[in-house]
């Protein structure tokens, strides 16, 4: 526990978090601290609560926190509505990005950027500045210009949706990005592109939490810490070698050790 008198310097601090979905307890005493500049990887079996954690942090309706606390840059994260969490610099890369037909992909992104800038007391970017910015980031993500005019994720392939998530992250430049299985469904080249995108945002100020099933991603984005999430709590943490070991020995190994 922190000394109450010192301000919390951690970017994200989760303490003993319990959360229910549809009346069922999914997170069950989860604690995790992320410092600025760090990359954390969270791994764990299907259904262990990884996406639930991401949803609770982003403020998705329907997720009820029953115990514990979360602070983000020293603020009580859970008391903020979702849009204010985003404006405070929290970004969620969705495991299943939703399609919004008829809403232009970059129109949404521009609205998001301007809403966030407004909160920070910055002037809105005009259409020209925005287009220049978004074109530059699209180039990085190797996305064609046609994505400018299409509806949000409308008819995008699985891999394109994931790249679009990273594009949004690059434009919004969050303090903390939680990327939920952004590597799933990507081909080898796309994986490298996405990794390069994530790495381009790494800085001593920012941090990133990667939810993934595959050690392969961590070859490209090297994490400072790796955590194993099982049945709603973190049962083991280590450095990047933990991911390699998990790949060899499977979750039974940790689950057995934790039981």
């Amino acid at each position: 526990m922190e000394n109450m008198k010192n301000p919390d310097t951690a970017l994200l601090r989760i303490e003993n978090l319990h959360a229910k979905v549809a009346g069922k307890e999914i997170l069950n005493g989860l604690s995790l601290t992320v410092e600025r500049g760090e990359v954390h990887a969270i791994m764990g079996p299907n259904g262990s609560g990884k996406s639930t954690l991401a949803s609770v942090l982003a403020g998705r309706p329907g997720y009820e926190v029953t115990q514990g606390r979360v602070s983000f840059e020293g603020r009580d994260l859970l008391s903020l509505p979702p849009e204010e969490r985003a404006r405070a610099g929290l970004f969620l890369g969705f495991q299943y990005p939703v399609e919004i037909p008829g809403v232009n992909n970059v129109y949404l992104l521009k609205a998001a950027l301007n809403a966030q800038r407004k909160t920070r007391g910055l002037p809105e970017v005009d259409a020209f500045e925005f287009l220049t910015l978004v074109r530059e980031k699209m180039k990085l993500m190797r996305m064609e210009d046609s994505f400018l005019s299409r509806g949000v994720n409308e008819g995008f392939s699985g891999g394109e949706k994931k790249r679009n998530e990273i594009l949004q992250m690059l434009v919004l430049e969050p303090q903390l990005a939680i990327l939920d299985e952004t590597d799933s469904g990507l081909d080898i080249d796309a994986l490298k592109i996405v990794a390069a995108g994530v790495n381009s945002l790494r800085s001593p100020e920012r941090a990133c939490v990667l939810v993934t099933h595959y050690q392969r991603l961590l070859d490209y984005i090297v994490p400072d810490q790796v955590h194993v999430l099982i049945r709603g709590r973190i049962v083991k943490s280590g450095d990047k070698s933990l991911a390699l070991e998990l790949e060899r020995r499977g979750y039974d190994w940790v689950a057995g050790a934790a039981a």
Partner: protein, 486 residues
């Protein structure tokens, strides 16, 4: 529901207070006929307008027919009884004897009213290059851009002026699409109509600018019964825009308009409406009864009539802009967005009557229901035996916001020619939590997120509107759905 959503909802509900923004009343002296409906009133209206005998007679025939009719009640609407004898059928702002000859003669108070509504007659006309005819209660107050239109041979003037300047066109076309016997409200209109707009586009002329009418009901206890007639001669084109508003009053006010369109060979009429009559308050008190008959006849070969409407206002909307596709190869289109919030009701749709061969029609209807609103799409596609190889495509989507509103769909299809094809797609959905959360998680506020998603839902209709109107329509949609997020 989590604490956060509850909070956003509360914030949104407080925005409701902003409500209707065109609800002011203009203090102006007017010449209003006492309430009541009989032959003397009809003769008085006709005399005030200096009409020729054929028109007075036509009105009287309509009135006599009206007294034989019963108010229709087949629509999916709850309508408080209307006392037709307590309505005043004519109200005009008092002006010099013959009405204003130019903008300079128009009462400055009237001009200020339109300014407040965002229709400054001088500026808007000049800047946007849109010719505006503004109808205030019963009379047309100004028509801008007359000279430029006249140079192209286009006639665009108040209906009453057309009666004087082009009586032969009026006699030939008035009631030729919507006869005075057509339906209860159209018949009433035929008897008492006061003013409206008249457009004639000569052969081969592409109208050099968008034409626009702005309707405003101001006086208390008056009905507005305007009549619009648009004739597009062979090979011509016109895009016509119609906007509406009314003051906020506790009483219901009746608006029973008739619009007739005639398209001759290869002519194309594009008619767009943004309807924002006062919808009543949050408890359903007051508001306009918008009972309108709009019909276009594609009389010529390969002619085309396209209706686009964005209906956000009125307590009750009852209208079915329709196309009669007589000319071979003619095209009818109907693109509609209708929103209902609070206690608003809408029963709207279209009729596509295929008479000629190779005629085509497209119907795209987007209904949005919120609060206690009830939204009905009612459409008829009729393929007559002569409609060889005719085609129709209908798409009808409903979006529900919250659990107390309703969406209803009544698509009627009659096919009497087996070579004709009719396709129908329909969907009903709720505003998706996932879509909403996706926007919130990007930092976009709940209200903006909803507007964005709803605009996306309406996109295929909005893209049919002229640019200037599309922006206005989106803004109106946002205002009309304020507080609707649940």
């Amino acid at each position: 529901m989590s604490e956060e959503t509850r909070q956003t909802q509360a914030e949104l509900e407080s925005l409701l207070a902003r409500g209707y923004q065109h609800g002011f009343v203009t203090e102006i002296e007017s010449d209003t006929v006492p309430p009541g409906l009989d032959e003397d009133v009809v003769r008085l209206i006709s005399r005030k307008k200096g009409e020729p005998a054929f028109l007075t007679e036509w009105r009287l025939k309509a009135l006599r027919h009206f007294f034989t009719m019963a108010e229709p009640h087949w629509a999916h609407l709850k309508i408080a009884p209307i006392d037709y004898q307590s309505i005043s059928y004519y109200s005009a702002p008092k002006t010099k004897k013959d009405g204003p000859k130019s903008l300079e003669e128009v009462d400055p108070k009237l001009l200020a009213t339109y300014e407040k509504l965002g229709v400054p007659l001088h500026e808007r006309a000049r800047l946007a290059g849109v010719a505006v005819d503004a109808v205030f209660d019963s009379v047309s107050v100004a028509t801008t851009f007359k000279e430029k239109l006249a140079a192209a041979g286009v006639v665009f003037c108040p209906f009453s002026e057309a009666v004087r300047s082009h009586p032969e066109l009026i006699e030939q076309y008035l009631g030729s699409v919507v006869p005075y016997t057509d339906n209860y409200f159209a018949t009433l209109n035929s008897a008492v109509f006061s003013d409206g707009s008249f457009v004639y586009i000569p052969k081969g002329v592409r109208c050099p600018m968008e034409l626009s009418t702005y309707f405003r009901i101001n006086a208390l206890n008056t009905g507005q019964f305007e009549r619009t007639l648009i004739i597009a001669d062979a090979g011509s084109y016109v895009s016509y825009l119609e906007g509406c508003s009314a003051p906020q009053r506790d009483e219901n006010q009746l608006h029973a308009a008739v619009v007739e369109l005639v398209a001759l060979d290869d002519a194309y009429i594009k008619y767009s409406t943004v309807q924002n009559w006062y919808p009543g308050d949050a408890d359903g008190k007051g508001g306009i009864y918008n009972f309108v008959t709009k019909r276009g006849e594609c009389r010529g070969r390969n002619s085309r009539i396209s209706w686009t409407q964005v209906e956000t206002g009125s307590a009750i909307t009852w209208k079915y802009p329709s196309c009669v596709l007589k000319g071979d190869g003619s095209i009818g289109e109907f693109y509609s967005v209708a929103t209902v919030n609070n206690h608003q009701q809408a029963d709207t749709g279209t009729k596509m009557i295929h008479v000629g061969r190779d005629t085509r029609s497209t119907i795209v209807s987007k209904g949005i229901s919120a609060g206690h609103g009830q939204n009905t799409y009612r459409g008829l596609v009729r393929m007559l035996p002569s409609a060889q190889a005719a085609r129709n495509f209908t798409q009808c989507d409903s979006l529900l916001m919250g659990g107390k509103c309703g969406a209803h769909t009544f698509p009627y299809v009659e096919v009497k020619n087996e070579t004709a094809t009719v396709e129908h797609e329909a969907s009903t959905s709720k505003i998706s939590e996932d879509q909403l959360f996706y926007c919130l998680a990007r930092g976009i506020g709940a209200e903006d997120a909803v507007n964005m998603i709803v605009s996306g839902f309406c996109k295929s209709v909005f893209k049919e509107l002229p640019m200037e109107f599309a922006v206005e329509a989106q803004n109106l949609l946002a205002v009309s759905l304020e507080g609707a997020v649940g």
